[in-house]
Amino acid sequence: MATLTQPPATEEPTALGYVETRGLSKHFGDVRAVDGVDLCVMEGEFVVLLGPSGCGKTTLMRMIAGLEKPTAGEIYIAGERVDDDVPPRARGIAMVFQSYALYPHKTAFQNIAFPLEAAQVERSTLRRKVQWAAALFGLDRLLDRRPRQLSGGERQRVALARAVVRDPKVFLLDEPLSNLDAKLRAMARFELKQLQRQLGTTTIYVTHDQVEAMGLGDRIAVMDKGKIRQIGTPRDVYDNPADTFVATFLGSPPMNLVEQDEHTLVGFRPEHFLPREVFGEEPDLVTFRLRVREVEYLGSDRLAYGYLEEERRSDQPVIAAVPITITAPLAEGEVYEFAVRRRDLRFFDARTGLRKPAPR
């Protein structure tokens, strides 16, 4: 925040990300929709904004697009400051809205061609580019249809074709798959990733679905209450959550958090929490006694819900995800010995929720 007092001239970014925000905030009255976000997206990178609904993802994206004026902070695209005086149309971005926002009075062709018309692309080039984009998404036969004659998946692809057609510097995608049914969604996720690799366009992707986020992102920025809690590779945020919010938001079922003492919470993933006998003679184990309350069979796993006998205030159930290949008995009401490898334990400050190093 010290930089705020310096004159603007010295704030020129140095060798930085392609899209960058600094101390970006947006307040709607008392609501701090976005609260001091520093985000840096490298060129060609695919960054996913992940967080629960209402955490400010859309607002952050809309500010980058120029649709919302920041309350405070700065936005840079390709090293140039844009938040103040560059309108959305000039930012070199393409955005796909959750609703797809197809123009109902235009055909699919006209929808895709619309951004090119704005750029006053010459007629024959325009046709060629639209056909290229349409082919990319398998829309060749649908170009004469109007949006209401298209299925949900087709609409989504028209919206994507319209986004790629004019070669944007940045894609902004706001939950583009959430209106598709589950089967289409998996397909579309795969295609989207392929496409982004192929085009190499810097992409910011908003979702509240962690599976999407883990599958798509080069890096994931986990948001809560207007703030970015952690940003890192999918592996990194999953394995080394920066705080208890990230720890419990990612993973299904989420990370177990157990009170160690009044200052410290211990966290471990359900899939690391297994019957003691699985580990054999391994050193560096931490063992607990789990009183099983409920067992769910999920096909590939068994989920055991229960309480730790060691824990003083056991109001929070602990979950173990035991692969079906492990045949150890798990009966409701029984107490079993479970264990976690010491290196799989994560420690958090009980008051702030922030990660802290393992105690000696």
């Binding site: 649709l67 959305p88 955005m95 609703s99 926002a101 123009y103 109902p104 951004p115 704005a118 004019r166």
Partner: protein
Amino acid sequence: MSGRAAVRVAKRAALYTAAVAFTVFAVFPFYWMFLTAFKQNRDLYVGATNLQHVPWIFNDPPTLDHVRLLFFNTPYLVWVKNTALVGAAVVAITLVVAVPAGYSLARLAGRWGERLGIGIFLTYLVPPTLLFIPFARVISVLGLQNQLGALVLVYPTFTIPFCTWLMMGFFRAVPRDLEEQAMIDGYSRLAVIGKVVLPLAVPGMLTVVIFAFTLVLQEFVYALTFISQVERMTLSLGVPVALVRGDVFYWGSLMAACLITSLPIAVLYSSFIDRFIAGLTAGAVKG
């Protein structure tokens, strides 16, 4: 069992009777216009004391005489022309002023928009009855007495508030996403209005055209105040005021004029009434 069926039949009958009664009351004057317009004078001017002569039907064959007289021996067609001129001018002014204002209130004016919108709508409640006296002064200062220009100047005072309000509603119904998408697709706010918003608001603008035009056709007080020269009159003034010769009403032609003028407007208006009501009750009815 049969008792209940009887009650049901009675209820149906009551329902239909009521529907018929309301309809007869509403339609009767129009039926009367129609009879009068096409009756021969002999059939028309029979005193109501003659109980043998039934006035409700054509006793003699219908005739086109009154219509012919109306078209060829009265200034009716001149009034039609005047009305069309004034109507077209007022509609044009209304569109040019109310459409941008409606958009501004719907999208650009922010929190102020709501207040200003209600304020503008309230001016629709200020009636001609209150304003025709000061306008008489204004019009005479401007030297516009007996000019269609006076009507063109004054009629937008009631078309603009109402149509601005209507357009505001129509613009609010255009999804915001579409406008923002277009801004990202490379267009300025102004270009977005032209390329996306207006094409989608065409039904709204059509409604505005119809309403502005019918409001003009309905107006009587201002016309009576500003226009006394017969060739400068509009339909709604000329027909009631100037289709008399001396003290004699030409009822056949007069009713023909009423019928020919009213029916098309009424049909047009009825087909758009739902939008009109939606505009009036916006706020009082949710959804």
